[in-house]
Point group: C2
């Protein structure tokens, strides 16, 4: 029987980082990653939408296996089929049995498919993380003109914008009143929607796809409103559900969000088995209640916690903040922490404030874009709970500034005197620097 000190099941972002971190913290341990994907076939998860316009091919969106070999991590290409917790072994599809001291489940998630008629027709796709599947989608796109996207979340918008860059006629159908409504305040959703419209994407909200139409191939979709939309291809972008089959078979405890329950150190109900990333339950940084947020960056942070905790509990998971951004055309939108609506739903008494200014200075700098920031503070503690930002290509790192302020539970007064730096090409002017000015504006209401 093969034996390893650390066996990580799943070779995407979280699994790789757990392995790298285990290597750093336990330098003599034998660390093994087991995954289904062959050599050179693991896709960069957040890069998947960009295969279809910007990057051009799944093969250009691959995580280098050198991340494993360069860190002295063994790779087994195989599928784990069951865990014997008593014997501390994992059985595989190829008939192997592998012994472990510590097991890490990083089994990820799979796209949610709604049970509507026609969902199995040809030319219905979703974001399956598989090179061959995505090459199939890429090939199919060459022969189509009209595309309908079900779901106006991040994944739907990113695919829409890339499909649009190929010259396709794209329509997004969202059942809620706004796109991105679950992650942004309404005013920021409106900004995102108008950017999509400017880019030539057709917007449908407050409506729902009830059936995919067609004999063999897709020819259209039928909406709840009664309308029918002619389309050659349907892309379902409704988020993901955790892959928990292996954990459930091993009788590990499940959490409220149907992901694998873990404690604050990343341990499952079996103390020698850890779980992280999309398959593992998360708790909110703000309320400590279960959270359904799933992001590659969160999986990586959890990989750094779990990898360090394997043989000695070194790091505590303080709960997910949620920090993310996306691009529409050449405009960025992003957020960290709680939106106004999420903060209210969680029972916080809040104060919000908003500031707009050019993202370069003076505003006459070429390429300057309007840069908007909205902050959410808790009234009682005056601590920052969340921030949203729209602007240009710097919003991704602005989100990280916000995340750092939030993670340190800074008060409005502390944010107002935050020691940022500025430069004409890179940032707004130091006078109206929007994060600190939004904090000042909030202080007037606190």
């Amino acid at each position: 029987m093969e034996k390893t000190d650390v066996l990580i099941i799943g070779g995407s972002a979280g699994g790789i980082v757990a392995g790298m971190t285990a290597r750093r913290h336990y330098k003599d341990a034998k660390v093994t990653v087991m995954r289904k994907e062959k050599e050179g076939q693991v896709l960069v998860p957040c890069g998947i939408p960009y295969i279809f316009g910007t990057v051009g091919a799944p093969e250009k969106n691959i995580m280098p296996d050198a991340l494993l070999s360069g860190n002295n991590i063994d790779l087994i290409v195989d599928e784990a089929t069951s865990i014997d917790r008593e014997a501390k072994t994992v059985s595989t599809a190829s008939g192997k049995s592998i012994g472990y001291e510590k097991l890490v489940l990083a089994t990820g998630s799979a796209p949610i498919i709604i049970p509507i008629p026609g969902k199995d027709l040809e030319n219905v796709f979703c974001a399956i993380k598989d090179v061959d599947y995505l090459n199939g989608l890429l090939k199919t796109l060459e022969g189509v003109k009209d595309v309908a996207i079900i779901g106006g979340g991040f994944i739907g918008l990113e695919f829409a914008d890339e499909f649009r860059k190929r010259g396709l006629n794209v329509t997004i159908v969202e059942m809620l009143p706004h796109y991105l409504q679950l992650v942004f305040n309404e005013d920021f959703c409106t900004v995102a929607e108008s950017r999509l419209k400017e880019a030539g994407i057709n917007i449908m909200t407050n409506d729902k796809v009830e059936a995919v139409l067609g004999e063999k191939k897709v020819t259209g979709v039928k909406l709840a409103s009664g309308e029918e939309l002619k389309t050659d291809l349907v892309f379902i972008g409704l988020g993901a559900r955790p892959n928990t089959e292996l954990a459930q078979k091993a009788d590990l405890q499940m959490g409220e969000t149907r992901a694998i329950w873990v404690d604050e150190y990343g341990r499952t109900s079996d103390k020698d088995i850890f779980a992280l990333g999309d398959c593992a339950e998360k708790s909110s940084f703000f309320t400590k209640k279960p959270s359904a947020l799933r992001l590659a960056s969160i999986a990586c942070t959890e990989g750094r916690i779990v990898g360090a905790n394997l043989f000695e509990l070194k790091r505590r998971n303080e709960g997910v903040i949620g920090s993310f951004a996306t691009i529409i055309g050449d405009s960025g939108v992003g957020m960290a922490g709680l939106t106004e609506a999420a903060a209210k739903a969680a029972g916080f008494d809040i104060v919000t404030s908003e500031v707009k200014t050019p993202d370069k200075h003076p505003g006459s700098m070429p390429g300057a874009k309007e840069f908007g920031v909205k902050l959410v503070f808790e009234r009682a503690t005056q601590e920052i709970l969340g921030g949203q930002v729209c602007g240009g290509l710097t919003v991704g790192e602005v989100v990280n500034v916000l995340a750092a302020l939030i993670q340190n539970r800074m008060t409005a007064n502390q944010v107002a005197t935050f020691q940022y730096g500025t430069h004409p090409f890179f940032t707004p002017s130091p006078i109206p620097y929007p994060i600190v000015n939004a904090a000042e504006a909030a202080l007037l209401k606190l």
Copy 2:
């Protein structure tokens, strides 16, 4: 006699922010800014180099007076000539006397001019914040080919890169072994220098201009090495000295850096007189010792402290971190906190670590640039003392991420589990995200 509750002398960034903050915190106070510059003539300080290439004219680099009028701040265009601390009045060049309750000195700084022969010749310029003067420089540039810049700091490099964009032949003469040596670790200086070389700028280090040559106009410079350089124009970029004449005449205490001494609330030795920005002494966030850092962003942060403290002490100045970035061609370099050399000079026992990765992900994304981060941690406390970054146009906000981590005195372990977000277009991959990975690398040495 005119009377105001708050009189701010100086109408650049720090003075404006002090006024805006006073207005926010003391809504009934009469707030007045007195400055020498006429309406619509205050230059955006950090934008001055960009007048000469990117922006095109001093008139396009102006701070809007609406920042005053829109905040109900009165403007007096006049020059303060003396302060009567007993009577609490300020006399002006036009013969007025203005009474104040609280006085704020935001008199800024002036370029340092070295006392070398030929410094007063025609075509010797420096960064004087005056529209007519800079229009004179702009006009002169039209008739020249070769430009020598004295000083390889930020200001010298920024002017050099803009002059180069006009097609001029530019040489920078720096007496130290490297450009930017006072603000960057040596390896980052080397990166900056190679970017300048690639841009076609001539590099001279370990040498010094001893005289400017010419009869009436500049014809060349004579170097300490004996070499003579033919040049049509000399630009002196050697930093700035605080404008303290008014404060000295009023017998206010001066600090060790020859700036106006202030306490942690921004008060001078007269408790009704505050000072901020380039004219005021700063202390280091790390050592509490005097610091000679002078930046518009620091002036603005001090404006937010002083403006809030005028009638009630609300905010304490924790000392300057120093956060800044600049651009060379389309590459960015930036830093926050202490360099390796500065940390050692301040007596810290330190550990450093460095990580490089593409600034977008996958690395095949169009426009991806190498992104390097170097972090400095104190060994005893494991707290982050500084960070440097080189990359593309996002480095300005990455510096602000670093500043937030530093300001919150996060340990290497906390930085390693910092909850950043990522996106293919905006940031490095979540796996090698360089700030957290540099912290992990440092932990191995701590």
